[in-house]
């Protein structure tokens, strides 16, 4: 901390900084206060499991939670193997300056910057129309999988690279095959990082709306298969707020559920990271 001296400019600067901070803190507290105030009193087990009625004005979000869960499951089931495989390839078989690695990494970096609505357009053209999946949970999940791959691969690759080189060298010196090295040495050591990557990807997928509007659709019935259209939590909030007069109170509660889920997801990611770093720092 530096000591302030009492000139006019100094006081002005201090005033400016504190004003800026108040200007940001106020809407944040207002927003979170609003969500808790209007959302909390409706939140109950019944709200979470029951079916939406009257276009969502009454009733709960049961089928919407199920659809969200299915979309996330499809997303992670596709993104995890591809992400894990690519991360392993990047960390174990390419060096930083190698062309193949640089190409893949570069294209993933660019992919991470593509706006979500463009992923929605792509998903609509590729999964819904070309592959003939239509507006379905499967299309939505696959679109989200494309979207979360960059962040997943980045985190998982870093956790593989963090493993000490000694371990690979000792395995090689013992004549252990690379498959066994990956399976028995690298994967167990990188499990926390892999988990964190998946959790972060899941968080990003769950917060997404724009990519789902015209891939997984609006239908708020209980889905019976992956080819059914299903409404995600975020789309439910959008629909209640924009298209349903009098849907605000249910929208507040749904928003509270969504933010609660995201908080759990992010807290567990940082808990794992913390646990992992303290474990790694123990003398071995």
């Amino acid at each position: 901390m530096l000591s302030p001296s009492n000139t006019i400019g100094e006081t002005g600067a201090t005033l400016m900084v504190w004003t800026a901070v108040t200007l940001i803190a106020t809407p944040f507290l207002w927003l979170s206060g609003d969500l808790l105030w209007y959302g909390w009193h409706q939140l109950s087990i019944n709200f979470v499991v029951s079916v939406p009625q009257n276009a969502g004005r009454e009733g709960g979000i049961g089928p919407i939670l199920v659809s969200t869960g299915l979309i996330m499951t499809v997303c992670m089931a596709v993104a995890m193997p591809i992400g894990l495989g690519t991360a392993l390839f990047l960390s174990e078989y390419t060096q930083n300056d190698q062309v193949s690695g640089r190409l893949i990494r570069g294209s993933l970096d660019v992919l991470a910057g593509v706006p979500s609505i463009v992923f929605g357009l792509f998903g609509n053209a590729f999964f819904c129309q070309l592959l003939g999946l239509g507006f379905s949970i499967l299309s939505g999940g696959l679109t989200l999988a494309c979207m979360v791959l960059p962040i997943l691969i980045r985190t998982v690759e870093e956790s593989f690279r963090a493993i000490a080189q000694d371990q690979r060298l000792s395995a090689a010196a013992l004549g252990i095959s690379q498959r066994a090295t990956i399976q028995h040495i690298l994967l167990p050591a990188a499990i926390p990082g892999v988990l964190v990557g998946c959790i972060l990807g899941l968080g990003r997928a769950m917060a997404e709306t724009a990519a789902l509007i015209f891939t997984s659709g609006y239908v708020d019935r209980m889905p019976t298969s992956l080819m059914d259209s299903g409404r995600a939590l975020s789309i439910h909030i959008y629909d209640l707020a924009m298209n349903v007069a009098g849907g605000n109170s249910n929208a507040y509660t749904t928003a509270l559920v969504l933010i609660g889920l995201l908080l759990i997801i992010n807290l567990s990611a940082s808990w794992i990271t913390k646990k992992w770093t303290t474990l790694n720092q123990l003398p071995s």
Partner: protein, 295 residues
Amino acid sequence: MILSSNNISSHSKTDLHVLWSLQVFAVVAGSLLVLVIGFILRESWPALSRLGLTRLFTDPGWFPTEHSYQLTPIIGGTMLAACGSILLAAPLGILSALFCHFYAPPLLGKWYRHMIELLAGIPSVVFGFWGLVVLVPLVASWHPPGPSLLAGILILTLMILPTIMLITHSSIAQVPSAYIHSATALGLSRWAVIWHIVLPVSRIGMLTGVFLGLARALGETMAILMVCGNVVQLPSHLFDPIRTLTANIALEMAYALGHHRSVLFMSGLVLMGLVLCFVSVAEALRHKANHAIAK
């Protein structure tokens, strides 16, 4: 890393299988970008080849049912909303990063940073919903109609501020403390140290944050769709409703057919081009900053 070619101990069959399958995954992940760009191009090709880019600016207006596709007011609205929010978010973000480092008591600074991280985690649809329910009536009571460029700018500011603040925060943390200590020892006041030393040294990091914020503001869909009113027009003042490129796609994709649909894909292509420009500028700046620190 152990390269397979250098690794004499393992040329077994299973190892080759592992390598091949990993390569397949990597190729899938690496070609995803080409696939995305390819498909957007393919879908916008009818419009690109038959209508051409110039009609986006010379048609009489945006009347898709009458095959008139002028995007000027929509592109203008997008730019105004993004630039307006950057003008607000950049100073606020930089000031709050300074607050955490130099002004706040340690505990308060930590809490404030956590608060900004939480703000970054709020989904855009929740921002949009809150904007619609709270901010729009507030703007309307000041000056009707309410859903407006101003409401959009304010919501976007809240959304991109965390990006700018967190990146500035980490680039300020990299300013060598020797600089700050020696300046303080020379008797410079707190603001003088910030103005003459901290800000110049961390300016590249700040610029990176601003460009990433701009990219995020341009690509943002839900929040802006919910608070901006979505009227296709060039706004004459802050209280006029506008429509952005992203909102236009989200609103009309559901029923667009033929050329209309193709034009929407083309506007997606334009949007992606703009966003990727800003992201690559930010990446180049980050690269430069890393090199400067490594020296």
